[in-house]
């Protein structure tokens, strides 16, 4: 069974204080690892998909990296508007009748103070 564990559960940063969020995963065969941002009262907003170890993707102040066991979401010089819950999810190559299924972690609640 696919499993995703995110840490920390909550992270409080000062504006400009860079940090990283962790996503550890167990999957029979990784088709893709996804990062989403979720604001209160809204659906998840797609950020990145990573497909293989060593891959990196960037978007503004965010950079996602992937190894064979975990992914990191690095936040550089965060701003208060980066405050949100960040969700990590994996998709297995062995989906069977559940092809396309995403297995999510519990999320990291990020708060950036001005």
């Amino acid at each position: 069974e696919d499993q995703v564990t995110q840490s920390p559960e909550a992270l409080r940063l000062q504006e400009g204080e860079s940090s990283s969020l962790n996503c550890s995963y167990t999957v029979s065969g990784l088709r893709g690892l996804f990062w989403y941002r979720q604001d209160p009262g809204k659906g998840p907003e797609f950020l990145f998909t990573l497909y293989s170890a060593g891959e990196e993707k960037e978007k503004e102040r965010l950079k996602a990296t992937l190894t064979k066991k975990e992914s990191f979401l690095h936040i550089t010089a965060p701003k208060p508007e980066d405050s949100a819950t960040y969700l990590c999810a994996v998709q297995s190559v062995d989906g069977g009748t559940s092809y396309g299924k995403l297995t999510f972690g519990q999320g990291t609640i990020l708060t950036v103070h001005p």
Binding site: G32, E45, T49, L87, T97
Partner: protein, 113 residues
């Protein structure tokens, strides 16, 4: 990316009643998914809804409780039947587009009293 809308955005329902949630996409998509996000929890897949075939349900979810329709490539409905307070959740639809990325709708917030 596809634009996804859901109706209703929120509802308060009485125990024992049913609610049908609609998901509309602005483009034709083959695969649509329904997820549940219980309070303080992450997202869990309920079922996959492909046009022209029966929905495929995940372990712990059954068709009698969560019947799904997929009449065309832009629309799907999820019904939450015979509701109890434990069904209070956010229900989200998502779609595949192109590069196997899933995009999510805004969600339907359901409170069952």
């Amino acid at each position: 990316s596809a634009v996804i809308s859901q109706k209703p955005s929120r509802d308060i329902c009485q125990r024992g009643t049913s609610l049908t949630i609609q998901c509309q996409v602005d483009s034709q998509v083959t695969m649509m998914f329904w997820y549940r996000q219980q309070p303080g929890q992450s997202l869990t897949l309920i079922a996959t809804a492909n046009q022209g075939s029966e929905a495929t349900y995940e372990s712990g979810f059954v068709i009698d409780k969560f019947p799904i329709s997929r009449p065309n490539l832009t629309f799907s409905t999820l019904t939450v039947s015979n509701m109890s307070p434990e069904d209070s959740s956010i229900y989200l639809c998502s779609v595949y587009e192109g590069s196997e990325t899933q995009y999510f709708g805004p969600g339907t917030r359901l409170l069952v009293l």
